[in-house]
């Protein structure tokens, strides 16, 4: 470990799915309070990297430290560390049998051992923060995609995470709902949350990211600032990728 202010340290990470090499020697350090955006073509290993950080995938080789603590295969430590890392999924993954507020309270009571009252208080606070306190009693199936994703963010925030991981949080949304989710993410970024976001929303990368990572074939090809990536990409593969996504 190099710098104690790096809240995420990934060292020489490899991940195989059978024969498929999803991660090919990835090393990465994320400073406390930094916002890192990961871009790259489909299948380049972006999700896999994110999912290794909270051990939803077990790395084949390599080490990860979260806030100075090494991720081992010990399930107790992993559960504890996961509670410190919020994750937001492309398809929201809300719990359909629970109302919005129950989605936000459940893990607080089960994992954090908070009382029902305290959990509900915090849940309402977070639902206000993402702008939908009035939907507290509504089931996910009666919420729009944008609203569902905001409940999912509130659910993660209610655990009081040190880190937030976003895996293409807006790519399953109708265009008119993308902004409401990005606004919540921008707020979070400006409040100093450490964030690692896989997203192709270049506007978000420009205005919120401290660093941008371009991945291809399981490797980090370029690791730079947003300006560096958009104005002065170094690698041919990066240029090709940017030309493809900026056309849209």
């Amino acid at each position: 470990m190099t710098n104690s202010d790096n809240i995420i340290v990934v060292q020489d990470l490899f991940k195989y799915f059978g024969e498929v090499k999803a991660l090919d020697g990835v090393s990465l350090e994320v400073g406390r309070g930094k916002v890192v955006v990961i871009v790259g073509p489909s299948g380049s290993g972006k999700s896999t990297l994110l999912r290794c950080i909270n051990h939803l995938e077990k790395p084949t080789q390599g080490d990860i430290w979260i806030d100075g603590e090494k991720l081992t295969h010990n399930i107790k430590t992993i559960n504890a560390i996961r509670a410190e890392i919020g994750m937001v999924f492309q398809l929201f993954n809300l719990f359909p049998h629970l109302t919005a507020i129950e989605n936000v309270t459940l893990a607080q009571t089960v994992v954090r051992n908070r009382s029902k009252e305290e959990a509900e208080h915090i849940a309402m606070e977070k639902l206000k923060r993402v702008g939908i306190p009035e939907k507290a009693a509504v089931y996910p199936s009666n919420l729009s995609g944008g609203q569902q994703q905001r409940v999912a963010i509130a659910r993660a925030l209610a655990m009081g995470p040190k880190i937030m991981l976003f895996d293409e949080p807006t790519s399953a949304l109708d265009p008119e709902m993308i902004k409401e989710v990005l606004d919540v993410m921008l707020d979070l970024a400006s409040e100093g949350m450490t964030m690692v976001c896989v997203t192709h929303e270049m506007g978000f990368a420009r205005s919120a990211a401290d660093e941008v990572i371009f991945m291809d074939f399981g490797k980090i090809v370029e690791h730079t600032t947003p300006e560096g990536l958009f104005n002065n990409p170094q690698e041919d593969r990066t240029k090709l990728f940017l030309s493809q996504i900026l056309q849209h």
Partner: protein, 288 residues
Amino acid sequence: MTEKRIVIEPVVGEEEASWEERLRSFPWWFLAMIFIAIGVFFVVSTNESYNAAFNFIKAGLTITIKTTLIAYVIALGFGLLAGLGRISKNVFFNNLARLYVELIRGIPILVLIFFIALVGVPSLVNGLNAIGEWLNNAGIAFLSKPFTAITNQDVSMNARAIIALAFTYGAYLAEIFRAGIQSIGKGQMEAARSLGMSYGQAMRHIILPQAIRNVLPALGNDFVAMVKDSSLVSVLAVRDITQVARLYAGSTFRFREAYVTLAVMYLTMTVILSLIVQTVERRLRSND
């Protein structure tokens, strides 16, 4: 006026077709069943010999209902455990559950009932006695008491019948639970785990509530099946309605009265239960 006719004609044609269709798809079998039920009910309540048969056989009703209910509740427990075992990544539990399910499902229920009641339970009792002996010899006499005290006579045939039915149905319910759990998308478990929940917590709070709701109709259908299969315990001389009906027929030689009444009793129970299951199923579907 002519315009109107042109408009009406195809509507009439459609209506005729739909009438035919309606007649065709009408549940005639159900109507027939209701008529038979009314007829039989009339006969049983007015005809003296049927009435006598019913009054004799109904003494077994408590045992039939009790045996089915208790065995089903225990089977739910076995089934849930085995279902969880079937999807477990733990090699031991996974294989144990698989062995249980495959063994049970490959043997006729009648044979299982004989086997569990007349071989399985006695062996278990002998095993417990042996443990008691061993504890006694090891000098832990106070612990050995409950083990040595139990005898085969302590386990009534009724209890054995319940154990046999529960153990058998557990294997069938296990497959229902397994299918239900596997019908829940992977993202649910991942979302729960990403919040720091353990596997068990995620199962209990996230996966099982959804899975069980999905398989409620299937569980209900197996309950109906169990009501019928409970008649098999009569081979252990447990005095359920089947056994009582056999006794009645054997002593009075009124076979027709005995078995018609018995069949109607089962039919009444299963039809009512099936209707309940269907209602629950419809309500679940409309809530989706």
